[in-house]
């Protein structure tokens, strides 16, 4: 209804407030999640390269898992802090509609990956753990990319391709695939994201 043809009792002011709210919610609903950190991804990648080098030395499977879990304990807070830093710097709301859509795509796959990894480790199927990590992390990134920057779709697909490679090759290759994925891919795409989307 046009603003200048209002029913009695509906003020222009109320209509204007409603219009501004409508614009705000439409923008929030359709804006992509751009707080994915480029430099944070590069830092996480560097941690993974170190983990790959240390993991390759481990013969015991449980100690090998401990190396990668330690890397995750360092890398995940790094990524979250970088995301928060980027969101603050560029005035992006982390819990916007797009942020929630990103989380809804990314988190379930990562949680599924953690549960499956625990089940595989407890049944002694350590050979399947690297593929599980790469495939489900890739699936999460791919799902999250629908609410974020398009380049993430390629990152997710590349992770999944490495997951397939890890599935087809032996345990001796596991640190190479994990290093290439969580290290190489994160650094390469981190550079692209930092250049194209800031932070």
């Amino acid at each position: 209804m046009p603003v200048h043809n209002l029913k009695p009792g509906v003020s222009l002011n109320e209509r204007a407030i409603e219009s501004l709210e409508f614009i705000r919610t439409t923008m929030a609903r359709s804006a992509p999640f751009t707080a994915v950190p480029g430099r944070g991804g590069m830092a996480m990648g560097a941690v993974a390269i170190v983990a790959a080098a240390l993991g390759a030395r481990e013969q015991d499977d449980w100690r090998w898992v401990a190396v990668w879990l330690s890397a995750a304990v360092v890398a995940v807070p790094l990524g979250l802090l970088a995301m928060r830093w980027k969101a603050r710097r560029y005035g992006i709301a982390l819990w916007s509609a797009a942020g929630r859509r990103f989380a809804q795509g990314f988190v379930p796959a990562v949680v599924a990956g953690a549960i499956l990894s625990a089940a595989l480790a407890l049944t002694g199927r350590f050979d399947l753990v690297p593929a599980t990590w790469l495939l489900l992390y890739g699936a999460g990134v791919l799902a999250g990319s629908t609410a974020s920057v398009p380049v993430l779709a390629w990152l997710g697909a590349a992770f999944m391709a490495l997951g397939v490679a890890a599935l087809l090759t032996g345990t001796g290759w596991r640190d190479l695939w994990l290093g290439a994925g969580f290290g190489g891919l994160q650094i390469a795409f981190g550079i692209i994201i930092a250049r194209k989307h800031g932070g």
């Binding site: 200048h4 204007a16 407030i17 219009s19 501004l20 409508f22 614009i23 359709s30 992509p32």
Partner: protein, 127 residues
């Protein structure tokens, strides 16, 4: 057709005046850009303001409207030079992409200024 394109081009590059704060709310409301004021068109312009481009399907999901309704409103905005429409193919499937023009961005900014001016006018002056 050529005339329409020319007028669209003029609309794209025409300067958009800011609302005069001394103007009464009723006059200001009458000055509103009716093209942008419609809810579906306002949703299209707002969604495109925060995206480089959006496909027909994405815009339909954002606006929550039907194919026919979206086509009609998008065409009106395109004729005014507020948005551009690029038709192509994604594999074998036809794909339509919409982008907000500079003129469309200015029209949205002017609309926002109008709304803010109306709200400011309604508030009691603070000392």
């Amino acid at each position: 057709m050529a005339g329409k394109r020319a007028s669209a081009a003029r609309a794209t590059h025409a300067p958009v005046a800011r609302p005069d704060p001394r103007t009464s709310p009723a006059t200001r409301a009458a000055q509103l850009d009716r093209l942008v004021h419609d809810r579906t068109r306002l949703a299209i312009v707002s969604a495109l303001a925060v995206n480089e481009s959006l496909s027909f399907t994405e815009l339909r999901a954002t606006t929550g409207t039907t194919d026919g309704n979206l086509s009609v409103h998008a065409r009106k905005l395109e004729e005014a030079g507020y948005i551009t429409c690029t038709k192509g193919y994604d594999g074998r499937l036809p794909k339509t992409e919409f982008t907000l023009t500079d003129g469309g961005r200015r029209a949205l900014q002017k609309y926002l200024d109008h709304m803010e001016a109306i709200i400011r006018h309604a508030r009691p002056a603070r000392r």
